[in-house]
């Protein structure tokens, strides 16, 4: 079933009776060539690219809940490639390029909306740092523009430019950045994977690995044993728990990140705006709700809900940046579990166990990475070789001393 404008009109005229489920709901086979653990954005994208681009094979995605029940459906949907370090920026720019062709690629409306991201500058030091970051972005083929105060005012006149402590002095804008519909991304990849023959198996929790002579043979699941040629783990906030079943300890701590949505308002916020002096960022969804958030709560958590102090902190940041937000009523707040790595950068690599591969450590920034992460992980699974854009995102970089510490915070996950 292909989606098209014609199809939508035809269905509208015939009572929407012709739509079909987007994917099958198969029972697991006894064995697959590739088993992907985790049916979030990264797992589904991996299966999609594996089936479509790299190898025709028997592939399954095992998801303990329903597809998209994890962070892919909980994030604030920002996509951008505005990183500084050479270990990061080419990867995120690769992802940005994949976003730009994504809807044509998998024939699904993921509502990719390149409305731009504006990082505000409040001090001279910050301007220097952003100029440096903008130059790094340009060198990696991304777009970046440094704005002065008047140009920012033109874009977002409602900001508090003369806040006594944190006046706005300019901004770094990436116009190709923006937002995408998080669920739509999961559904698009799921449907695309299914069309290429991938078995998407829901309510199937991986409970153990069968490992013999240092090689993985398959996985134990709540729906029985499933044999596997290769296993790729992409379980985001459950990475430590799942990899512990393979006898590994990871350079990861789990933390909770909260997000907030206001009642629907008329179009107001031009793109994504980040406060450079506090921890606050905001965008507006297509339905009109202001989508905003701030810092992680800061303590280890698997609770998928946060506490009030951070809500207060985010509200304070919002009020400092755009006082009119105080008029908007909060509709919903929720939390998701972040796999915070020790340097704030993800891991896409093989593991010491033969045939077992790991995709983890996405912190609060893995949504934007979904296409490239899936692509690179599929490349690694299919070829055994690291994709060029992820060649620094190695599991052993910590012991080798090659951390990719974008924030320069050291091995303190709650500060990344």
């Amino acid at each position: 079933m292909r989606f098209s404008g014609f199809r939508v009109i035809a269905e509208a005229l015939t009572g929407h009776k012709g739509w079909k489920p987007l994917w099958r709901n198969p029972d697991p086979q006894p064995a697959y060539d590739y088993v992907i653990v985790g049916g979030g954005g990264h797992g589904l994208a991996t299966a999609y690219y594996l089936a479509k681009t790299f190898r025709k094979a028997r592939i399954a995605v095992l998801e303990k809940g329903w597809l998209g029940s994890g962070n892919i459906g909980r994030n604030t949907t920002i996509i951008r490639s505005n990183y500084l370090l050479p270990g990061n920026e080419p990867f995120y720019e690769f992802s940005m390029k994949l976003w730009e062709g994504l809807e044509q690629e998998f024939n699904f409306n993921a509502m990719v909306s390149q409305r731009g991201i504006l990082n505000l500058i409040h001090t001279d030091g910050q301007r220097d740092a952003y100029r440096r970051r903008g130059n790094a972005m340009l060198l990696a083929g991304a777009d970046a523009e440094l704005l002065n105060r008047d140009q920012v005012r033109e874009m977002a006149p409602f900001l508090n430019f003369d806040n006594a402590r944190f006046p706005i002095k300019g901004g770094l804008v990436q116009r190709r950045a923006g937002t995408a519909r998080h669920d739509g991304v999961a559904w698009g990849y799921a449907r695309g994977a299914d069309l290429h023959g991938v078995d998407l198996i829901q309510n199937c929790e991986v409970t153990g690995f069968r490992i013999e002579n240092g090689r993985v043979l398959g996985v134990e699941t709540s729906r029985g044993y499933i044999g596997a040629g290769k296993v790729g783990v992409a379980v985001a906030g459950n990475s430590s728990r799942v990899m512990a079943m393979a006898g590994m300890r990871l350079p990861i701590e789990n933390h909770v990140l909260q997000a907030f949505v206001s009642e629907g308002l008329k179009p107001l916020i031009p793109g994504v705006i980040t406060f450079g002096a506090g921890h606050f960022y905001v965008s507006q969804s297509d339905k009109g709700g202001l989508v905003f958030g701030g810092d992680i709560d800061g303590y280890n958590s698997y609770a998928q809900r946060g506490n009030l102090p951070v809500i207060e902190d985010v509200a304070e940041g919002g009020m400092a940046l755009m006082p009119m937000i105080g008029r908007a009523r909060l509709l919903r707040a929720w939390g998701g579990i972040m796999d915070m790595s020790m340097d704030g950068t993800p891991i896409i690599d093989k593991t010491p166990v033969g045939g077992l591969y790991l995709n983890a450590g996405w912190c609060y920034g893995g949504f934007k990475a979904t296409p490239a992460s899936g692509y690179a992980f599929a490349h690694l699974l299919a070829t055994g070789q690291t994709h060029d854009t992820t060649r620094f995102m190695r599991l052993d970089r910590f012991e080798r001393g090659y951390v990719i510490d974008e924030k320069g915070m050291g091995a303190q996950p709650n500060l990344h």
């Binding site: 512990a244 990871l250 303590y299 910590f398």
Partner: protein
């Protein structure tokens, strides 16, 4: 969250800053055999359990004590707190 400070009674968790797993008290001996690998583990690897977790909190906006707090990471329930100093001294014995 309220942290039951052993000296001061229940105090708002907001007064504290968080460091992480209490195993950070067990700093390896830098001169011992295999110190490099031991430090790599110490600095970068974590058990990161879902459930009961012993962790270091610093009472920054308070009496500046380090506490070892026992907390459930799934429910956020706090099960106890002691002075990290007491924990460390007990270990030395």
């Amino acid at each position: 969250m309220l942290i039951p400070h052993p000296l001061l009674g229940p105090r708002d968790a907001q007064e504290f800053t968080y460091l992480g797993d209490a195993s950070l008290l067990n700093r390896p001996d830098g001169m011992a055999e295999g110190a490099l690998a031991a430090f790599c583990d110490y600095v970068y690897l974590r058990d990161n359990p879902a459930g009961v977790h012993r962790e270091l909190w610093f009472h920054e906006q308070g009496d500046r004590s380090w506490l070892v707090v026992t907390r459930n990471t799934v429910t956020h329930e706090i099960l106890g707190a002691e002075l990290a100093r007491d924990v460390a001294l007990r270990r030395q014995k």
